[in-house]
């Protein structure tokens, strides 16, 4: 087998376009998914049974089914409700919904990891539950959940490849198209894989540095324990 190096040069721009769309889609998906995940996490912990049930159901449903079928369902069901969206927007919604279920569990574990005394001291001084959350609990949750949230974002980058099945012109779809033109699957898919891998490693490295910086500032013993707790809940992908 001989490697056709020209492929790398000729088709790099095309693949990079696909890569760019992948980035845009993932950014939109987490912009929607993380707030939704926060809402679901609070909902699941809520004393209102109805809200808690709905949140838990949403989370379980999206965590216990393959992403590909969620994508197809969004693709075919949304037009029923009058929403004729382009494949890209369907993809963003599907990825956001999928991501939010995992974000919710991460955030929930983070909230639970904050020592009980923090909530008690907030309530004892007269704060409402929401004030306690906003001022005392959630800020502490942030430094706890940042690593697993980043991890989950990396997972979303990889899952976004599945959007190729509904013809979104992200990186994988672009790769398939180039492969169809050139009939050189090895070169093309290696390039595609390397692009994903490079993105993955870059974000992971940035997060590791950032994590070290945050922990330097205000690390308590409880935060160290929380990381250990979260590792158990973490989706290692």
């Amino acid at each position: 087998m001989n490697l056709e190096y020209t492929i790398f040069i000729d088709y790099a721009p095309t693949l990079l376009l696909g890569f760019w769309l992948t980035l845009k889609i993932v950014v939109c998906a987490i912009a929607l998914g993380i707030p939704l995940g926060l809402f679901l996490a609070l909902g699941k912990r809520s004393p209102f049974v109805f809200l808690s049930f709905l949140s838990t159901s949403f989370i379980e449903i999206f965590r216990n089914t393959p992403f590909i079928i969620q994508v197809f369902l969004f693709y075919y069901v949304l037009p029923f409700y009058g929403l004729r969206l382009s494949a890209e927007y369907v993809g963003i919604l599907a990825l956001a919904a999928f991501g939010s279920a995992y974000f919710a569990e991460i955030i929930r574990a983070g909230i639970d990891a904050v020592p009980k005394g923090q909530l008690e001291s907030a309530r004892a001084i007269g704060m409402t539950d929401w004030q306690s959350m906003k001022n005392i609990i959630l800020p502490q949750t942030l430094s706890i959940v940042l690593p697993p949230l980043t991890n989950q974002t990396l997972t979303l980058i990889k899952e976004s490849a599945i959007l190729s099945t509904i013809t979104v012109h992200e990186l994988t779809m672009t790769g398939l198209m180039v492969q169809g033109e050139t009939f050189r699957p090895f070169e093309v898919f290696i390039m595609v894989a390397l692009l994903y891998w490079a993105l993955n490693e870059t974000i992971a490295t940035i997060m590791r540095r950032f994590e070290k910086n945050i922990n330097k500032n205000r690390n308590t013993g409880s935060t160290k324990n929380s990381s250990a707790i979260l590792k158990q809940n973490e989706n290692i992908r």
């Binding site: 089914t65 976004s160 898919f189 894989a193």
Partner: protein, 220 residues
């Protein structure tokens, strides 16, 4: 177009057949992955070869850093170029096995770390070494410690099988696509398929606790 439940009822027999294939693929892939991962784990710990460890580290990094779908395409489209014409089913199993094994290796690494060092020493002082050491003493403890993440990994494999539909393996997802391309009712058919996947994964993940209890060993 209204939701018509008769399409679901008609589709169910074929869907269940597809679900069976899904389960078979998942179980086969997961078992092979366990074997591969266990071998790697033992080799990593016993061989102490820097080259080997570097290769494995690279392999794990690649698998964890790239989408499974791309890995599947790599195996399916690229192997024939090297002369290996395996067919979609085999290619799919290989892709899933290689993918899952990387994650299981990391899981076992964690499980192994939780086995107290004293176990190795006690066994060696009794003259147990080599294969027996691993088979009778270390591996059982490693696996029992790793049950929750392993069960989680199996549900990931179950969900991953759906991607094989893209390379024409006739598992549940592919079957449902075949059905609704014929009857033009994707919503009904996909909904039923969705529920079947959910039930499979949900049951498996709930059984984690039960499995842990059954196999529980008291620490001495």
């Amino acid at each position: 177009m209204k939701f018509d439940i008769s399409y679901i009822i008609d589709a169910l027999p074929r869907l269940f057949e597809g679900a069976l294939i899904t389960l078979q693929v998942a179980i086969l892939g997961f078992c092979l992955s366990l074997i591969l991962a266990t071998t790697i784990t033992i080799a990593r710990t016993s061989l102490n070869s820097k080259i080997f460890n570097t290769i494995i580290a690279f392999y794990i990094s690649f698998i964890r850093g790239t989408p499974l779908l791309v890995q599947i395409f790599l195996i399916y489209y690229v192997l024939p170029v090297f002369g290996l014409n395996l067919g979609p089913f085999s290619a799919g199993i290989i892709a899933i096995t290689l993918n899952s094994a990387a994650f299981v290796t990391e899981i076992l690494r964690g499980g192994l770390a939780s086995v107290p060092n004293g176990q190795f020493e006690a066994a060696k002082s009794l003259g147990i070494s080599g294969v027996a050491l691993w088979r009778k003493i270390i591996l059982p403890q490693t696996f029992i410690a790793s049950i929750p993440p392993l069960v989680n990994e199996f549900t990931m494999v179950l969900k991953a099988t759906a991607l094989l539909s893209v390379i024409t393996v006739v598992e549940l997802m592919r079957v449902s696509q075949q059905i609704y391309s014929a009857n033009y009712h994707p919503v009904e058919v996909l909904s039923a398929t969705f529920v079947i996947y959910f039930l499979m994964c949900f049951v498996v993940s709930r059984s984690s606790a039960i499995l842990e209890n059954k196999l529980k060993v008291k620490r001495a």
